[in-house]
Point group: D2
Chain length 342, copies 4
């Protein structure tokens, strides 16, 4: 192609987010994947690791060579586990490359919060002040100028988008927000373990890490910013026997009574310019299948007495990871925001 | 067999609860199934309807003939939809038979609540005062003498058992109880419909009937009795892509601070004599697979600040329907309570 | 857009193939969907029927109005049940429109075969001689000129592509071909029924219509053409508890001994120009997840003694229906064959 | 209980077969589990490993102490991986204990076949001549006297029972038997691995170890005995996204033509005294859900031309492992054969 395509690298290509990222980038009209790497035993074509790519892309996936990747690409996607991203991000930034980090390493602005929740010292804390939290619905302006973009977690995306209108408008008691979140199993990653072994996870449902999930501080940080005061949610994640999707059921105590239609109007108004937020009409509620393989976040609302119940649905690997990263890339590069993901 | 077995009838045998009931009764050492009936196009062996029974039981399942069933059996299980049970229950009681009704028809003591939620006139309201709500953990003494037993719904069983200790001891704000319940698809019955069509329900997760589920008033009724004052919970049911199991995540606002271990002690104490309640130790939470095919209700508890989170798990078709009905039968008949279901 | 897009109509939009067809056409750079219709109770936006389309397409789906659809579109996709397609196809053809029919109505060249298998009179049998069987790997030249294209069934696509090289080269005993095919549940359509009710189909596996499936004559017709003599396969379809995917395990008796690598070479050679056929290397076998959401057919081969075992995988809704229809459209319109589906 | 119960040990209790074995033995009226052991990091209650057992059995599961287990129990179930069983079985036999081995170590009478397929030297080959292959439908008489019982594999049980009548009666060409078998994921064991990771196995279907599965020689051995001549089947196992169940679709070439009803009669006659074989009527075929949690093997048959298609279904963990082991125990101990498993 004679067209000038943006050269991108995918680091951490062997996880589920990496796989979806490659799928999306392959169809994106402005990008060309020029480098693929991951922690691997030995280099092999990415199409061996994910045979779906056979006949579509034949790049070899080897250990990351920062110098080579920097030379090959102008924008770097880090689809890495937390703690690993911060090893590489500073070096790519030094080479003048833009970085979109899908890990948690640059999402929290507080070093101590990061170190408490992730149990490790942050080795490039100086970057936290300039990294941009990549939720376009809240930070589009900052994203435009971002060099280091911290792509939000899947639970936080589903949770924050469901809370933002009511919290920002001070309509709810912020010490009483309860988020009951349910995720498909890809959310737990691609490393085999007993709890994710098919016969253990199939036909089973459980809560886990109750109020101890590492995505909580990220939710609290963003809601606190919106509220202008410290917010501490109750957060219970659950594991559901399906591959993809997050459904978040959020319970608010309203400061004053309100009709359901009024609450819906507030959400529709708040998100009126958003191409990927779909606020549903009264008595219609989200289902994860309706957002499968899309960058949409669907939101349904019901108010009863002073209780507001907001249900959100996203595809954890798309709006919760890969397609949101591409949405952020589109904004950072000045492309149409929906390009390649609608 | 020379032994004097209790003759039982299963009315409504073609649903999922009916099927499990037959399975349990076939292995029960004190019962003999003598009559099987259901709404059917034409009479046929129950082993045609549920081929699992081939070689185990060959009774024919035809339309209910009340006179014949009364003659054949001394205890009648009604595994019927609501509205249908109340057509038959009075007649069986008149014949001097004991009735265990798995429908909702005799669970609510208030006629007006029933008529509001089920949208129909109650045709034997005079029986409501003598029917016994069959949750053995709360009403064992009354069950002993019951002639008409109203077997609890699946959501109510999982919900009430998770709330009872804290509510009965007045430790929580009763106007702030939130029950986020998740159910496998058998909970929705055996009638095909678009939402339960395999490709629609598989790989999908949704909330439904938010604060409008017909099991809500049953929960409120029982919690109100325990609290000694009117309780109105927030109740959100969800449909999960698996066959069986209910997980209820219940959120309480405690009146005063408490440690998790203290809350666990309260639950263990409250249920100390109960053979089918398993209160889990700190940091262990229920999974539906651990109660699959059992009459157990597992309960896990976490307290943080003044928030108590209680998670319960049951098999919706067993403790939530069929095996609880047999537990009730055991109590009513003076058998060992665990007979045939442990 | 100023570009001249091909206007297409989707008739029968409420089934699974129709839904996927719309998804693909929405992203196709050369098409514009101008008409959507189906058997519906009342007209409503397609995004009500499939909420995934909210924010993507807002055409109303009403009953088919042939005149209006003919006016609105130049190419008509009929994603209809058999028997229904033949009511409409002739009329669209008369209006000078091209028709791609996803039903079985124009796949069999023998009227009597059709009438025997589908139990109904063929009402436009005169079109059978000019309809083209749309398997591009076998009939690309004919497809270029097709006015009425009969898009192959899902089982036939997976089966014929797995058989073609060995049958065409007369390497196998054609009276001994056994096709053991396994399909996800969308293959059975979107109409709820007891056997496809989630709790019945989930955690269950069964064979059905053994040697009586209506896709058999289509397989036999095509293999007979390739063999130059009458072929009658043994065909056993199975229903697998997953949404999408067909895996066909095909057993051949070879006329003479052959190594596995030799057989693989024959397949690679036969399909060497095909963009959507991926013949796998020795000891690698297809998995349906590797073709999910793609137009690929993966083929794995093992030979042992004089037995060749060929395994093929396709996505039943894509290569087995919607994306193959678009592949055919691309060929018929002179677009790049892979446009919008790779 | 004052009754003299048979004391049994379960060695290898942490696998799926071990778990089901404990479930069955707990309800068996003649047995008492006195010893539970497995390869574990540290001893812990079996109810920690399988929380379903909480409140039902509280034995500690530690590393096997042969002396202690021999003292505690009179019959030993070895639910171990192959190669491990043969370390322990000889020692239990020397202590005068009966052994029911669920591994493959004593199933093959040919040492060289064993060593070729399992890639290891057989360390107690001298026991092979006295071990009894525990398929009650074929070897009931020998089982009565067995000291060392080799419990059949899951695939062999489903396959041999589907072949026996036609093979024993010399009605089929024995060099042309094709077995296309499909198994739920518990058949692959309880050790996590990439291929069995939930998101990899869910919504996926694949063939594996085509004609190379270690259960093949066991099938060939038994069919050869029945045929009186060497039989070599074609055997393709598949992995299906469900927890339990095997469906085997078996293709025979008949020596002479036969009606379906005639074939069914042959099967019904062959198995007429068998309590756990259910030969289905014409046009009815097995489904795995009908045998879930049972010791039944369901068999459906269709004949067309000279092709017989026989479909069998078992629960791989019950008739394919644990309940068949108990059926064998019942026979060895002189109990009613169906005791505790019907």
């Amino acid at each position: 192609m004679s067209k000038n395509l943006l050269k991108v690298a995918v680091v951490g290509a062997t996880g589920y987010a990496g796989c979806e990222l490659i799928k999306i980038l392959l169809r994106h009209p402005e990008t060309e994947i020029t480098s693929i790497s991951a922690k691997v035993d030995r280099p092999e074509p990415i199409s061996n690791i994910f045979p779906v790519f056979k006949g579509q892309i034949d790049l070899v996936c080897g250990e990351l060579d920062i110098r080579a990747a920097s030379k090959a690409a102008d924008l770097i996607f880090l689809a890495l586990p937390h703690k690993v991203s911060m090893e590489f991000a500073p070096k790519f930034l030094e080479s003048g490359k833009k970085v979109i980090d899908l890990s948690a390493d640059y999402r929290l602005s507080s070093v101590s919060e990061y170190e408490a929740w992730y149990g490790t010292k942050h080795t490039s804390a100086e970057l936290l002040s300039s990294s941009v939290y990549g939720l376009p619905e809240l930070y589009r302006k900052e994203i435009v100028k971002a060099k280091l973009l911290a792509n939000p977690g899947c639970y936080p995306t589903a949770s924050i988008l469901g809370c933002a209108p009511l919290v920002e408008k001070s309509l709810v008691e912020t010490d009483r927000i309860i988020i009951d979140a349910k995720s498909g199993v890809t959310g737990a990653g691609r490393t085999p373990s007993m709890g994710l072994h098919f016969p253990e996870a199939n036909e089973n449902l459980k809560a886990y890490k109750i109020n101890q999930h590492q995505h909580m501080p990220e939710i609290n940080q963003e809601l606190s910013k919106l509220a202008g005061s410290k917010v501490g949610v109750t957060f219970t994640p659950h594991l559901v026997p399906m591959n993809r999707g997050i459904l978040s059921t959020i319970y608010f105590t309203l400061k004053k009574e309100m009709e359901t239609v009024e609450a819906i109007r507030i959400y529709k108004d708040f998100y009126k310019a958003e191409p990927f937020i779909r606020v549903l009409d009264e008595n219609i509620f989200p289902e994860t299948k309706n957002v499968y393989g899309t960058n949409f976040c669907d939101i349904g609302i019901k108010v009863t007495d002073k209780r507001a119940i907001v249900v959100t649905a996203i595809d954890n690997l798309w709006k919760g990871a890969a397609s949101q990263a591409v949405q952020n890339m589109n904004i950072m590069q000045g492309y149409k925001e929906t390009l390649g993901i609608l």
